[in-house]
Structures are given as structure tokens and as C-alpha cells.
């Protein structure tokens, strides 16, 4: 989905293999989507699979 957005990067992280990160970010269930701004600050998160429109809106609000 982010393939045609040259200024947005999508990173998939396996929760099971990164439990330290899961604990640190307080991720409670999978999948959880974190929206980060350009300085890496978390500006929003969606628990469960987010809908396409929700992701687009979240990305638009960061830009």
C-alpha cells in the first residue's frame, strides 16, 4: 500500500521475535500498527488490522 508513497516507509516487525520491543512499547495484541512521524515519534496506533482509509487519514495527518 505504501509502495506508491515515496515519502512513507512501512516496516513489518514480528512481535514474537521482538518481545523486548513489545514490552517497551506496551503492545498488547497483534497486529498493532504504529504511526510514526518523521522524527520517529509515535503519533497514533491502531490495534487490530486498520482499514485502508484509516491508514491514509493517519498518514495524511502526519505530513
Amino acid at each position: 500500500m505504501t509502495a506508491d508513497m515515496h515519502d512513507v516507509a512501512h516496516l513489518h516487525i514480528d512481535a514474537e521475535a521482538n518481545l523486548d520491543l513489545v514490552n517497551r512499547l506496551n503492545i498488547l495484541s497483534t497486529p498493532t500498527t504504529l504511526i510514526l512521524d518523521k522524527s520517529g515519534i509515535e503519533v497514533g496506533r491502531a490495534v487490530g488490522a486498520p482499514k485502508r482509509d484509516e491508514v491514509l487519514a493517519a498518514i495524511a495527518s502526519v505530513k
Binding site: H12, D14, L19, V22, N23, S29, T30, A49
Partner: protein, 145 residues
């Protein structure tokens, strides 16, 4: 910091929900008739789901062969590990229920089946998979020890 490991097995999210619906029916029959054999059948299904994965149970087979071809819309996928863990939890409840039947305890049988039935009902009707929600929490607790 973070690693991108092997791609997890992705399954159609509607599969486990369909399977939960059949599970509700089977467990309701087991509870209503107090029939340990019906519970034993469900225990075997749970065991297959727990060991091989939720996409390999007889219910998942029905979903793939009959239900899925009838469904429209894009298939949203999910990691198979949380529902697989949920099958394990279901299996443990079924096991307790069977132990209850073995010692002739109606309350143990009924309560264990009741819990499994409630969880399957939540999954089927509200698409809320209790076992899946527990999955990461359990892993987190384990990682701290």
C-alpha cells in the same frame, strides 16, 4: 534493534471465525446433552488446530472448500499464531471437561465446556478472539521471567 524474520503464515481471518461458529454448535450440543463423546470430538479438532494450525482442522477444510468460494470481498489475512494459541486454550478447556466426565463430575464438565463455549461464541458472533488477545500477553509475561 528489530529484526525482520521469517514471514509468518497468513490465513484468511474469516476461517477461524467460521470454525468458531461450528465450535459453538458442537460445544452447545455437548453441554445440552452432557455427552463426553461430543466434547471428545471437539477436543480432537482443537488438538489439530493447536498442533498443526487453525487452518488444518476439519472445520477449516469445510471453510476452504465450501464457504470461502461463496464469499465475496477481499480476503483480509492474519498471522496464524494467535488463533493457533487460541486453539490450544480451547483444547485445555476441553481436556478439563473430559477429566470432569471421567470422574463423573457434572459441574467440572459443564463449567469447562461453558467457558470454551463462551469464548467460541465471542469469536463467532463478535469476532473477538479471547485466546488471540491472550497470546501476546502470555508471551510478554514469559519473556520477563
Amino acid at each position: 534493534m528489530s529484526q525482520q524474520l521469517k514471514t509468518p503464515t497468513l490465513i484468511d481471518v474469516r476461517g477461524p471465525r467460521f470454525s468458531a461458529t461450528i465450535t459453538v454448535i458442537v460445544l452447545a450440543i455437548a453441554l445440552a446433552t452432557q455427552n463426553a463423546w461430543v466434547l471428545a470430538f471437539q477436543a480432537v479438532v482443537f488438538a489439530i488446530g493447536a498442533i498443526r494450525g487453525p487452518q488444518f482442522t476439519p472445520y477449516a477444510f469445510i471453510f476452504k472448500r465450501i464457504v470461502k468460494p461463496l464469499l465475496r470481498g477481499e480476503a483480509v489475512t492474519e498471522d496464524s499464531r494467535p488463533p493457533q494459541f487460541a486453539q490450544t486454550v480451547g483444547f485445555l478447556f476441553a481436556l478439563v471437561g473430559l477429566l470432569g466426565a471421567a470422574i463423573g463430575s457434572v459441574p467440572v464438565f459443564s463449567i469447562a465446556v461453558g467457558f470454551a463455549l463462551a469464548a467460541a461464541f465471542l469469536n463467532s458472533v463478535f469476532n473477538y478472539c479471547l485466546g488471540c488477545e491472550m497470546y501476546l500477553l502470555v508471551l510478554r509475561i514469559r519473556s520477563r521471567q
